[in-house]
Amino acid sequence: MSPGTRGPHGAVFWLGTDGLGRDALSRLIYGARASLAVASLAVACSGALGLFVGLTAGYYRGWVGAVLMRFVDIVLSIPFLLIALAVVAALGPGLEHTVLVLGLTRWPRYARVAFAQTLAGRSQEFVEAARALGGTDVRVMLRHVLPEVLPSIVVVGTLEIGLMIVYEAALSFLGLGVQPPTPSWGNMLADGRAYLATGWWLATFPGLAIMVTVLGANLLGDAVRDRLDPRVR
């Protein structure tokens, strides 16, 4: 049924129904779960991993830093969607695997930023002072260097959310992410593909939802950067 049709019980299907007669609006709303959950979990995982690597590399510098950052270079030059395909193909599709893939492939960005910020942060006088007072490496890192690094990481993280949403939808679209009975914007789009000729709304609205969410996430990222980034202030 097309959007706005009144159903048999008098209820209006605002976005129409899909090929199996399910209300598209309800599915769209429920589908937000998958996108947002995957995006935020993936950002949290990759952010934590990247922060750890970058902080360690930047704090110890020397060969530890060189080795770690070389590794980051290498991971960064892996075409990630292809790896994601391989992982999901091997482990089987599913929400957890999507998070796993995104988390394990997207961290180098954070590591780079954390590395740069740690290098800058650790050469400051109050860090020197904390070390001179006998603070252990871990303490200095967590209490003094981390606060310097965190804002940039948060900025990168918010900027990444939009990308994560797109990637989750892409994987679901290819049938490798969230599996069919559970709606997600990606697999709703994939369903809509089959009805392009007869039901334009099925492929239009999930995509619109993705676009608006990503746009919102990107604008949020920009705003967070403007607020948190000491360089801009």
Partner: protein
């Protein structure tokens, strides 16, 4: 330059090896072939030995260009992939050309007349362009152009008409990225002294942009464009699926559905090889575009300073270093005009990475 290239080459080989190993492990996560081969109760060290042998064989095959046999199609995997490769290259090249042909002028035009009507029009376009997922763009194009207007075919390959929709779909995101990047690169360069000098000595505005600004803005634009090739390769998987384009990406999706892991493995390795080669080619191009890079050689590893603009204070580098071009201030971030106070320098690898966090999304305040 020679040492720099040797280092890059070594890194390229390392990446390929690393990716092959990762793929080797991943593909075998779904089922351990060794567990099927040995009788129950085999000691662990024998199993480890067998796994080791399998891996060594895999690497040896890789060196010979043998990526195993497809179980489903009963044919060597590599030729299967290479057979589809020309289609993917055709599509990617068309999309890349389109993105560059439209995105670059768009960005430069917006950047040279900052705040003008065109610039204000370009900002929302770029923002929306970056937020639209390619698979949706593709579906919308099919819906409107093919289903409603019956103008172009929605699938297939071979005729020029079939290439139009897929390449527009694939180019979409790159176009927005390139436009954004060239806009901020031009903005960044336009504030420099040499531009004022050029204007002062009466060079026509057009020539200032083409001969002076663009030459210096070329490096950041090139960097982003090269990185985008990876996105294009990834995006090709989706675009090819939507438009039934017989390329490598569709082969990968088909292979995954058929559980034909050897082919998946081959696609990933070939895809990585292409990407690594593109990155290498970019490094060579840096030297051509900017002789200073060729002279200075590789930026010294961790660099004296990271290439993010420094928080709170900017270090001053000795003039000698600044001349060499890889000094402590060897970073500026075109993504953040207004904050970058450092002079231009050429340490592309570092600058490239430092932009990454800022690559995708323009800050409204900086664009408006």
């Amino acid at each position: 330059m020679g040492r720099f290239m040797a280092g890059r080459l070594l890194q390229a080989v390392l990446v390929l090896w690393g990716v092959s190993t990762i793929v080797f492990v991943i593909v075998r996560l779904s089922g351990d072939p060794v567990a099927l081969m040995v009788p129950q109760g085999t000691p662990a060290d024998v199993i480890a030995q067998m796994r080791h042998t399998l891996y060594v064989r895999f690497l040896a095959g890789l060196a010979r260009g043998d990526l195993g046999t497809s179980y489903v199609q009963d044919a060597p995997a590599l030729p299967l992939v290479l057979q589809r490769l020309p289609y993917t290259i055709e599509l990617t090249a068309a999309a890349f050309g389109l993105a560059l042909a439209v995105g670059l002028p768009l960005g430069v035009a917006a950047g040279t007349r900052r705040g003008g009507a065109f610039d204000r029009l370009a900002l929302p376009l770029i923002l929306i362009g970056q937020a639209m997922p390619s698979f949706w763009t593709g579906l919308l194009l099919i819906l409107i152009v093919s289903v409603r207007w019956h103008l172009l075919p929605s699938s297939g390959s071979g005729t020029p008409q079939t290439l139009v929709l897929p390449s527009i779909t694939l180019a979409w995101l790159s176009l927005a990225t390139i436009a954004r990047m060239s806009r901020s690169a031009v903005l960044e360069e336009a504030r420099r002294d040499y531009v004022r000098t050029a204007h002062a000595k009466g060079v026509s505005p057009r020539r200032v942009v083409v001969a002076h600004v663009l030459r210096n803005a070329a490096i950041p634009i090139l960097t982003i464009a090269a990185l985008d090739v990876a996105n294009l390769l990834g995006g090709a998987v989706i675009t090819e699926t939507i438009f039934a384009w017989p390329g490598m990406g569709r082969l990968a999706v088909e292979a995954i559905q058929a559980r034909d892991y050897t082919v998946v493995q081959a696609v990933v390795i070939v895809g990585t090889a292409i990407f690594v080669l593109t990155t290498l080619a970019t490094d060579v191009l840096y030297g051509v575009l900017d002789p200073r890079i060729a002279l200075a050689g590789a930026p010294s590893y961790p660099g004296r300073q990271p290439c993010l603009p420094q928080p709170r204070r900017a270090a001053r580098s000795p003039p000698a270093e600044r001349l060499r071009g890889v000094g402590a201030e060897g970073c500026r971030s075109p993504a953040m005009p207004g904050s970058g106070s450092s002079p231009p320098s050429r340490s592309p690898r570092w600058r490239l990475r430092a932009w990454l966090p800022e690559t995708r999304w323009p800050r409204p305040s900086q664009i408006a």
